[in-house]
């Protein structure tokens, strides 16, 4: 839905107003993170730069990205947190990444194990305690592997957790690996994703071979099974005839991740957190990746078709069409119902490092308009596409963790030759390509990086969205301001939102948000609240 020139100019003025309402230095910084499409000649945005101290950000830390996001969902390992008690506690079952026990019958997601460092460990070092803790974990829980994640003090006191891991692996006879994901590293949880991908690559990937391979072997990467998202997708793929070698890391087994190089194609959902892994898989195993999107029925269908086209098999293509037709027929009546109710609704999406893009299509498929979108911890390539990667390489701040460089592994026979992959790339829009979010957005859309609560307030008062989708730290702010919210991290205990059925679940939840009678009672009968005529420096700012 394109805005008129006049409307775009107004949005530009709003952007400038926000910038000017800050102290000068902060304003200069924030201006680089706020973009109105159609207003700036060059749609470039500053991202993945440091949050200013004292500005209330929704961003987390390296530990949260590494242990909380990427390593946390691997179900048959124990994640042992080396540090004081808090970080393991706060990352314990806080994400809704579901899992069923692995082939070994093991699932440790409900456990929170920590070395619980005390003052004496800080003073004298925690390596011995870590070693003993690893023995205890092996003895009491008997996991398939143990991942050690470091919190802030570990890097400072200089515990060598990698060498403890090596010793423990030799002693305990199971894989033990360590991630130096101290919270102060990098600018957000994003760097933790990178550390986790590197750690898995160096310690796990390629250490096992699958029992069987087929002509249609896939990996499902960057899908964390929040609320069961993976369980809407994997069965569809299996119905069509694919064999899933590994997920990474929703509902994942460490053994499957070890076997992942054997696949023919990797499907990449969350570009932000896992593109490091797919790049390394390409370098080391010439295993190509396809950017997919399972959020939205048209998006899912398009991704399924593109996967089938990659394999170029008539049977697969036919079954893909069959699955799409069956599923669409099933959801059609409800889809029409919700489209009628949701068409024209205005939505703000502020979430994650890829999710704000994924959900845009579904919202549009349901007839809604995206008036503002942004990421918490994305990099410029998530906004502008991978073509900017060279530009942002070694841009200092974003390179706390180095990309690991791999040559094609000696003796490894890739399933497809490089020439074959290049030929397919010419045909397939999303094979090893990602165009980013901005390209898909309409003229006049507001794009904001690392949104804070101050700007959230302005967005709500001035843009007047019908629903605001973000996470728990914004949710209650938004609701207090009389706007319905949906959490797109945890789905407010709902979901899954992927695939055909998930699209309907999402539509139902948005309908619930915009149609709830509760918000109507804001103004009591004895007083008509004057909610108009507020500006950036209006009522709310007066309390700032």
């Amino acid at each position: 839905m394109s805005e008129t020139k006049q409307e775009i100019a107004e949005l530009c003025r709003l952007r400038d107003e926000i910038v000017e309402s800050y102290p000068e230095k902060v304003g200069r910084n924030r201006k680089r993170h706020l973009l109105v499409k159609g207003c700036d000649a060059q749609p470039a945005i500053d991202a993945n730069s440091r949050t200013l101290p004292g500005i209330i950000t929704t961003r987390g830390c390296a530990f949260a990205g590494c242990k909380g996001v990427v390593l946390g969902p691997i179900k048959d390992i124990v994640n042992l947190v080396h540090g004081p008690v808090g970080c393991s506690y706060y990352s314990w079952l806080t994400r809704r990444n579901f899992a069923r026990p692995s082939d070994s019958g093991k699932n440790f997601l409900q456990y929170c194990a920590t070395t619980d460092m005390q003052e004496s460990d800080i003073v004298f070092g925690g390596e011995k305690k870590l070693m003993q803790a690893l023995r205890e974990v092996k003895e009491t829980l008997d996991p398939e592997a143990i991942a050690i994640s470091a919190t802030c003090p570990v890097g400072l006191i200089g515990d060598d957790i990698a060498s403890v891991a090596r010793d423990a692996e030799a002693e305990l006879g199971i894989k033990v690996f360590a991630a130096n994901c101290e919270g102060y590293k990098g600018v957000s949880q994003s760097v933790g994703h990178h550390i986790a991908c590197n750690t898995l690559m160096e310690n796990v990937v390629g250490t096992e071979a699958p029992d069987k391979t087929t002509d249609f072997d896939l990996n499902i990467f960057g899908e964390y099974n929040i609320g069961g998202d993976l369980w809407n997708i994997r069965p569809l793929l299996e119905r069509i005839g694919y064999n899933v070698i590994s997920t990474y890391t929703g509902d994942a087994s460490i053994h499957d991740i070890a076997r992942a190089p054997a696949a023919k194609l990797t499907l990449l959902m969350c570009h932000r957190s896992i593109n490091y892994a797919t790049q390394m898989f390409w370098d080391k195993y010439r295993l190509p990746w396809l950017k997919v999107n399972y959020i939205g029925f048209e998006q899912t269908a398009q991704s399924l078709r593109e996967i089938a086209a990659f394999f170029g098999d008539d049977g697969l293509a036919a079954r893909t069409e069959q699955v799409i037709a069956t599923e669409m027929e099933r959801i059609q009546p409800e889809l029409e119902h919700y489209r009628r109710r949701l068409t024209g609704k205005r939505i703000i999406l502020f979430v994650g490092g890829s999710r704000a893009h994924h959900f845009q299509h579904l919202c549009e498929e349901l007839g809604m308009e995206i008036i503002m979108a942004g990421y918490e911890f994305a990099h410029r390539d998530d906004y502008e596409g991978r073509q900017v990667l060279d530009e942002i390489k070694d841009s200092g701040l974003s390179k706390v963790v180095k990309d690991l460089q791999f040559e094609l592994e000696a003796g490894f026979k890739p399933r497809l030759s490089e020439a074959e992959v290049s030929a397919k790339q010419a045909e397939l829009e999303h094979l090893m390509k990602y165009e980013g979010m901005i390209g898909d957005m309409s003229q006049g859309a507001f794009i904001v990086d690392d949104l804070n609560h101050y700007e959230t307030g302005i967005a709500i008062r001035r843009l007047k969205p019908d629903v605001f989708c973000s996470g728990i730290k914004d949710k209650y702010v938004v609701e207090k301001m009389g706007v319905p919210s949906r959490q797109l991290h945890s789905y407010d205990y709902s979901g899954p939102y992927t695939g055909f059925e998930g699209a309907i679940t999402f539509a139902r939840d948005i309908d619930m948000a915009v149609s709830t009678p509760t918000i109507r009672f804001m103004t009591p009968p004895w007083r008509q609240a004057d909610q108009d005529n507020e500006s950036v420096n209006g009522k709310e700012a007066a309390h700032a």
């Binding site: 902060v26 961003r59 070395t115 619980d116 800080i122 003090p153 102060y184 609240a529 309390h543």
Partner: protein, 452 residues
């Protein structure tokens, strides 16, 4: 009783949080206040998330967002910039500057950094900046909570002032509904009272047409200053050492005599509290509370036949667990595990006092984890768990019900509205306890519905 886990150096499924968490909660009960955590930004994000999901409220906690560089060379520049920014955008009257394991390990001298900042920027003197040391590698969230209250009092109420006849109440970590109830009780005694901290509104606010980033409510600076002139203090904290006692501090610095009472949960503890109030204010217990007491007693008589002899494992913060244990004994329940998030010989001593009449003494666990609570509950054949949501997986494993109480409750709504204290709070608690047990029996026997 010793479980195999008790000799472990590692902790599986901890039953306590780190110090800065408690500091964030305590400062939330000060009017127009903010907290800045001096450390990585993950600390503030994790704690905001946790507090929000329990209270269903927005929670803004600032961070000095330390990086690799500042972790090595010290966080002074980040801390100064963080304070400037949070003051510029939020205009707080009070700013708690709370350290974390990171900044304690690098040894940042926060007091000195703040002093230097105030010289550089004298306008910041209008904000009361209160540093609190919260090394996450020792103690628990309750240490951070009590330390913060003491730190604020040291700044604002450290000298005797003329007597104003008020009562100070230091309630500890109870629910917003509890704090509101306390306010009503004191109003009924017709004595001015100051409650510190008071997050009854700030962590359980309503919706109005104006959203305030720092919510309305909390104990004001003027009120905290007046605490030095109160007639006396009551503190619901019998388990902390004296240096963490707000009432002891006021007694030593401002000559305000104080009494440390157990949390008024359970008939006997409520009696202590109401008797103390009556004695100190020279006011008879208002009729409303005599009626509530009678109703509680009636409810206990009604309920005891469903409760008597049932074995319970209870865990949480020391004072809460202690009060619950006493109450359970009074209604015939048998506490078999009493587990505290904090350390403390005092907790252990008082639990054994409270359970002296029982044939089998409960396992008493301190600084504990759910591994130990689980083994204790299993060995003793517990039939009910009482505590935070984090015990959920033990309840499932043992196939016994969990009565959610304490912090955090993040898998149910309404934690902020749970009333536990006073005769009325005890009645609510008793009904929840009893119905949980009755529901379990009905489910087990498959009889479902019948007249009682």
């Amino acid at each position: 009783m010793k479980s195999s886990a008790s000799s472990h150096v590692s902790t599986t499924n901890p039953c306590r949080m780190c110090r800065p968490m408690g500091a964030c909660l305590a400062f939330r009960g000060i009017a127009n206040s903010m907290v800045l955590l001096h450390g990585s930004q993950g600390c503030s994000t994790y704690m905001r998330r946790y507090i929000s999901s329990h209270f269903n409220e927005p929670v803004d906690i600032a961070s000095s967002s330390l990086s690799e560089k500042s972790a090595v060379y010290g966080g002074a520049a980040n801390l100064k910039q963080g304070i400037r920014n949070v003051v510029a955008r939020y205009s707080p009257s009070v700013l708690g500057v709370v350290t974390t394991c990171l900044t304690e390990t690098i040894g940042d001298d926060v007091r000195q950094i703040i002093a230097a900042l105030l010289v550089e920027e004298p306008s910041l003197r209008e904000v009361l900046i209160v540093p609190v040391s919260a090394p996450s590698y020792s103690g628990s969230h309750m240490d951070g909570f009590h330390d913060s209250c003491v730190a604020i009092l040291e700044r604002l109420a450290s000298r005797p002032i003329p007597n104003n006849g008020a009562i100070n109440i230091f309630p500890g970590f109870i629910s917003p509904a509890d704090i509101r109830h306390l306010g009503r009780i004191l109003a009924d005694f017709q004595t001015p009272a100051i409650i510190l901290p008071d997050f009854s509104q700030t962590l359980d606010g309503g919706i109005s047409d104006v959203y305030r980033r720092i919510p309305v409510g909390g104990t004001s600076l003027e009120q905290i200053g007046q605490m030095a002139g109160a007639a006396f203090s009551i503190e619901f904290n019998v388990t902390s050492p004296e240096r963490q006692s707000s009432s002891a501090l006021l007694e030593s610095l401002a000559d305000v005599s104080g009494e440390r009472l157990p949390l008024p949960i359970g008939l006997r503890n409520c009696d202590f509290f109401f008797q103390a109030l009556s004695d100190m204010t020279l006011t008879p217990v208002p009729a409303r509370y005599k009626e509530e007491r009678a109703r509680l007693l009636d409810a206990m008589v009604d309920a005891h036949k469903y409760l008597f002899g049932k074995k319970v494992a209870v865990y949480g913060d020391a004072d809460m667990v202690l009060a619950l244990t006493g109450f359970m004994v009074d209604v015939g329940l048998v506490p078999v595990v009493c587990a505290s998030s904090g350390d403390g010989a005092e907790f252990t001593r008082r639990i054994s006092e409270a359970t002296a009449g029982l044939e089998t003494r409960p396992a008493v666990l301190t600084e504990t984890d759910f591994d130990r609570i689980g083994s204790g509950a299993t060995e003793a054949g517990a039939e009910l768990l009482v505590g935070s949501s984090k015990g959920n997986h033990i309840a499932r494993r043992l196939d016994i019900p969990l009565l959610r109480l304490g912090f955090p409750i993040h898998d149910r709504i309404g934690a902020q509205r749970l009333l536990h204290i006073g005769y009325q709070g005890t009645i609510n608690l008793l009904d929840r306890l009893t119905n949980t047990i009755i529901a379990q029996q009905q489910d087990e026997y498959g009889n479902g519905y019948s007249y009682m």
